[in-house]
């Protein structure tokens, strides 16, 4: 009887949270799935059901392909830069905590994560400026020709990757620092007694032990990078006097289809594709973590 009461109490206690979650998270996802099967121009009361026609059109849509490829390159580019760099930086910070500059290092790395996105992107826009930017000035010191960072199709992608990585790094380092603090000291002491160098300890102990952290950081970074939008918007479409090359990404394409082309159903089908990608990535994370747990 008591057990049943407790169960009812527990269910009642979490019901409001579940209700809010369902309304705020699940309902919009369901609505997107529903809209993706309809043709709707946002203004009309009619939303005719068109089955999978939106998805069929996506397969032949040049701009969608471009957006999908660009977004994937950016997401995996950010992943490749952020995860190893964050781990190395976290290791350096963690093993140098006695330094009087330790706080400064942590703050410096974390600041980009809390800085507002638009002014940060504006600053990077100046850094990447082909004529007046400090990046080209620095390259010229080494005899490298000035580069059109925001106009060349490849360099503009690299510019977005650099900006996104710079922003993602702080959060990743923070998570890794927590991971480093939870590693068992005894293993490192044993390795030291066996004559392992600091690098060897890092390579053979830290990296394997931090695998769950790396998986979490990796997937979180990847999912976040797949939603890239504001960075490319600010870098490319500022004042008319200094426009950059428009790097088409999925979120930008969705917004354009919704509010410029008035094709909400079509944009919803793009959102569904993005959702599927994110779900697959999350599934991979869970699978790998479960595999890790099973070995234990």
């Amino acid at each position: 009887m008591l057990k049943r009461r407790r169960l009812i109490f527990s269910l009642l206690a979490i019901a409001p949270v579940i209700a809010i979650f369902a309304y705020v998270r699940l309902f919009p996802i369901g609505e997107i799935l529903r809209l993706s099967l309809h043709k709707w121009d946002i203004l009309s009361k009619n939303k005719p059901f068109i089955g999978l026609a939106n998805f069929q059109e996506l397969f032949g849509d040049r701009l969608f392909h471009e957006a999908l490829i660009n977004t994937s390159i950016i997401a995996f580019g950010v992943l490749v830069i952020t995860v190893p760099l964050a781990m190395v930086l976290a290791a350096l910070i963690f093993y140098r905590t006695r330094s009087r500059f330790a706080g400064f290092y942590e703050t410096t790395i974390f600041i980009p994560h809390v800085v507002s996105l638009v002014p940060a992107a504006m600053a990077w826009k100046w850094i990447f400026d082909a004529r007046l930017g400090p990046l080209n000035a620095l390259l010229s010191v080494f005899g490298i020709e000035p580069q059109a960072w925001l106009f060349d199709p490849k360099l503009s992608l690299i510019s977005v990757i650099i900006l996104c990585s710079w922003q993602a790094l702080g959060y990743a380092v923070l998570i890794y620092l927590v991971g480093f603090k939870n590693l068992p000291k005894s293993l490192y002491e044993a390795a030291k007694l066996d004559g392992a160098s600091g690098f060897q300890s890092f390579w053979h102990l830290s990296i394997p032990l931090l695998k769950p952290i790396s998986l979490y950081v990796g997937v979180a970074t990847l999912v976040s990078a797949f939603n890239v939008y504001a960075q490319v918007y600010v870098l490319a479409s500022d004042a008319q006097g200094a426009p950059g090359r428009q790097v088409r990404v999925l979120v930008l394409d969705m917004l354009e289809n919704t509010f410029r082309n008035y094709r909400v159903g079509y944009a919803a089908s793009e959102a569904v594709v993005l959702l599927v990608i994110v779900l697959i990535l999350t599934f991979i994370q869970f699978s790998l973590l479960r595999e890790k747990g099973a070995r234990k």
Binding site: L43, A242, E256, R260
Partner: protein, 439 residues
């Protein structure tokens, strides 16, 4: 020189004496329109931040006659404005006064989402003495007036007179061939031959449909258009025509052969104001912008070789009841000749109203002459107000942007035509999807 819009019907800018008569007619209209429009608070949504002072000026002028109407002006960038209108109207939270271009308004009118004007407003707009037929049609849907014509985007060539003089050029270019020779002569280069000041600033990059619009204007000078009529209410793409090939060839030659401009160079009004380009094509608002940001710039404007784009913008009303009445009163207040002249003089956008006396403003701002006075043969065109026009413009812009970056296309007419045929196919597929493709 004559002031008119050819191909449609002449707009006659009458003598100043007519203004008094029109004002009294308007006054009667205001009274009828605003019966019951008291103690109302209305919002004005604009897609041009530079127009905020104009609307505030109009609101200020209303206070004496309508002390109880509070007007709030919210002017933001055009693309964001279009988004908020879409969201605002469908959620019932939009402003009462909406500033919309014809092509955008068509979607809302199709869905019966904008208010029908009172009889006095409709008859005021439909009166040929007030507006040319072209502007009446632009403000109408299904033969009925829905908006109050306000201003239009119309292009002309701006050129830096000091740079032309330094290059030994006598007067502005008058043919598209001369645009090329002028661009070469006006380009300033560093020791390595790289351009530091572009001879002719072209719209080469950036987001949105502006790239297509600017290309369309240049293509028009070569004798063609991106979309051409192909039956009753039907269209087809015509980029791969001789005019389209000539226009794209001109872009590519300037970019990759003569190198009078590069994609990463500063461009548009900002570059012109900073003397980073010698020539560029733009609307009349640039004059006000130059006056504010670069008052010492020595420049002039001139008509384009064949003609100009005209993008009419109207004021519409959303909602009903007393608030709608107050909103119509505001829309009509903008039509007072003194307000429209204030608009041209202080902001630079061209009023659509006929019968305005521009003589004083032209005397103080001669650069406006190219926008209100043009040859008899000068032609005008508008971007078709069809549902998928934004999608067509945006997709074409992406294709053109890729072409601009392809140096291999420069000088290869067959390759250019083939590339444009690809873009035509894409546009025609969009038209076909919407049932708008003609033969």
């Amino acid at each position: 020189m004559k002031r008119l819009i050819t191909g449609i019907a002449p707009i006659t800018f009458s003598a100043a004496g007519r203004a008094a008569l029109l004002t009294s007619v308007l006054g009667a209209g205001f009274l009828a329109a605003t019966a019951g429009a008291n103690a109302q608070s209305i919002r004005v949504w604009s897609g041009y931040p530079e127009l905020a002072p104009f609307y505030e000026h109009v609101a200020e002028g209303m206070k004496a006659e309508f002390p109880d109407i509070e007007v709030t002006v919210e002017a933001i960038a055009l693309r964001e404005h279009e988004r908020r209108v879409a969201l605002g109207i469908t959620s019932g939270e939009s402003a009462e006064v909406l500033e919309l271009a014809t092509s955008i308004a068509a979607r809302y009118l199709e869905n019966d989402l904008l208010a029908t004007p009172p009889e006095n407003v409709a008859s005021f707009v439909a009166d040929p003495a007030n507006f040319d037929t072209f502007f009446v049609d632009s403000a109408s849907y299904g033969g009925a007036v829905f908006g109050v014509p306000l201003f239009r985007g119309q292009s002309a060539l701006y050129y830096n007179t000091a740079m032309l003089e330094a290059a030994g050029l006598d007067g502005p270019p008058t043919t598209m061939e001369e645009y090329d020779t002028y661009a070469e002569a006006l380009t300033q280069r560093d020791g390595s031959g790289n351009p530091t000041v572009s001879g002719w600033s072209l719209r080469l990059s950036g987001g949105g449909a502006g790239i297509t619009e600017k290309f369309w204007i240049n293509m028009f000078q070569h004798g063609g258009q991106v979309l051409v009529p192909a039956g009753e209410g039907l269209w087809k793409a015509d980029l791969a025509s001789d005019a389209g090939v000539a226009a794209l060839s001109q872009y590519l030659d300037n970019l990759h052969t003569a190198k009078t401009v590069t994609v990463e160079m500063p461009a548009d009004a900002e570059a012109f104001e900073r003397e980073q380009t010698a020539m560029f094509i733009r609307e009349s608002w640039v004059i006000g912008d130059i006056a504010a940001k670069a008052p010492d710039l020595t420049y002039a404007s001139t008509t384009l070789p064949r003609g100009s784009i005209v993008n009419p913008v109207q004021l519409y009303v959303a909602g009903e009841g007393e608030q709608a009445e107050a909103a119509w009163a505001f829309a009509m207040e903008t039509q007072k000749p003194e307000n429209l002249l204030w608009l041209l003089d202080n902001v630079g956008w061209l009023p659509n109203r006929a019968g305005l006396d521009y003589s004083e403003i032209l005397a103080s701002t001669p650069a406006l002459e190219a926008f209100v006075s043009y040859p008899d043969s000068y032609e005008f065109f508008s971007i078709p107000a069809i549902g998928p026009i934004d999608e067509i413009m945006t997709r074409t812009a992406a294709g053109l942007q890729a072409a601009f970056g392809n140096a291999a296309l420069a000088g290869d007419e067959a390759a250019i035509r083939s590339y444009l045929e690809g873009l035509d196919s894409e546009i025609n597929a969009l038209l076909s999807r919407e049932g708008l493709l003609g033969e």
